[in-house]
Symmetry: C2
């Protein structure tokens, strides 16, 4: 509790904001403070804070005005929305806003990081710094909306040949007979990889399979490059964890 | 073959166009004729025609100019891209272009029809005739791109209580323990149902379960209303068929 709260009693709210670190006393910048105002939160109200690295806790509003807020740390909340091992999406560079759509949906579906890839048929060979920052912002917003404690990292593009992974790697490959549901093992990190419009080349796929990847099907139809990762992550989400 | 084709030999192409019906001689309108021109197809080239009802066949170009084309029917092609029983997506009305995105991805992922629904928390109670036509057009385009012989029907909205289904109905429901992969049975039609932003009400879900629907999970995170159908259809596509 504190002085200055409104007429209604302080309450426990659904609001979640990201902080730099979970410390006993946390200062909140103007953007989030405005957000708390818009939601009509008051001094004494309880919300949740998360650090984007997996830590999440309750926090109470100690001070609040239009430009800033101060919170005090409450009880830790375990990251119930996280998969047991990190889930990585490696995705070829795509044109326009398609990567934003993929990053947004992938965040909702639980990925811990998105590794951008340059492949033979990728729509681009690089990505601007601004665009990368924008993708990271999309991941942050989506993380908030889906109530995750982790904000996925969006990693700048590397050539496909340089992509290293731990645990299992599943490659969405039209015409393959593998089923992710039968192959998936949550006892190790899970990685999925999807190609650009036009697909991976046969040589790229063989290269990945030689390095231990599994080719898996998404049915007999041709999917757009931006649909395949969402469909494959949907299959993983539906399998439970 | 025929008179008027260019220097190269006639070839079998990947091109697919929709026709009103598969008849021995088919007239093609200006839009598709222009498309054939742009692709540099010639008299004698072979392409595929489909009627949007599941029938698909090879066809040869008999005449072609900028405004029209005439095709002759060749061998029938079986609809390899279709699921063994029809797959229906029932989806609550969503704001803006979200329904277009859902219809596009759902078409790629093999649905035979999309039934729009009015639910308690749906973003709208109805949909304009123009918008419905636009959604149907999106289904047509996506069908072409994913090389399906069937163009899904997009059916105008009905109240959730009036929605009837044959076979199995799976409802995406946060917090449910059911897994579509374990429950799915391709020996009968498959239906999936997803709610609006804000979800179905508890009463709506109970009503469906009482009528025999299965509640299934898409993991512990909150998905946007436009992500849930794609994720669930992805799980079905990854399961095979």
């Amino acid at each position: 509790m504190g002085a200055g709260h409104g007429h209604r009693a302080a309450s426990v709210t659904d609001t979640r904001i990201r902080v730099a670190a979970l410390t006993p006393r946390m200062d909140v910048g103007p953007r989030d403070a405005r957000h708390l105002h818009v939601l009509r939160l008051k001094v004494g109200d309880v919300l949740r804070v998360f650090d984007g690295q997996g830590a999440e806790a309750e926090a109470q509003i100690l001070e609040l005005d239009a430009g800033r807020a101060v919170l005090t740390l409450g009880e830790a909340v375990s990251g119930a929305a996280e998969t047991p091992f990190p889930l990585t999406l490696a995705v070829a560079l795509l044109k326009g806003d398609k990567l934003s759509d993929v990053v947004r949906a992938a965040t909702e579906l639980g990925v811990a990081r998105v590794q951008l890839l340059v492949t033979a048929r990728a729509d681009a060979r690089e990505i601007g710094a601004q665009k990368l920052t924008r993708l990271q912002r999309v991941a942050e917003e989506a993380s908030k909306q889906s109530r995750r404690a982790v904000t996925p990292e969006v990693l700048p593009p590397i050539p496909l040949a340089d992509f290293q992974w731990e645990g299992q790697l599943f490659v969405a490959q039209p015409g393959s007979a593998g089923r992710i549901i039968s192959l998936l093992d949550w006892a190790a990190p899970v990685n999925i990889l999807t190609g650009p419009e036009g697909g991976l080349t046969d040589a790229e796929v063989s290269g990945l399979l030689e390095r231990g990847a599994h080719a898996v099907t998404l049915g007999p139809r041709i999917l757009r490059a931006e649909t395949a990762p969402v469909a494959l992550l949907g299959a993983i989400a539906a399998a439970g964890e």
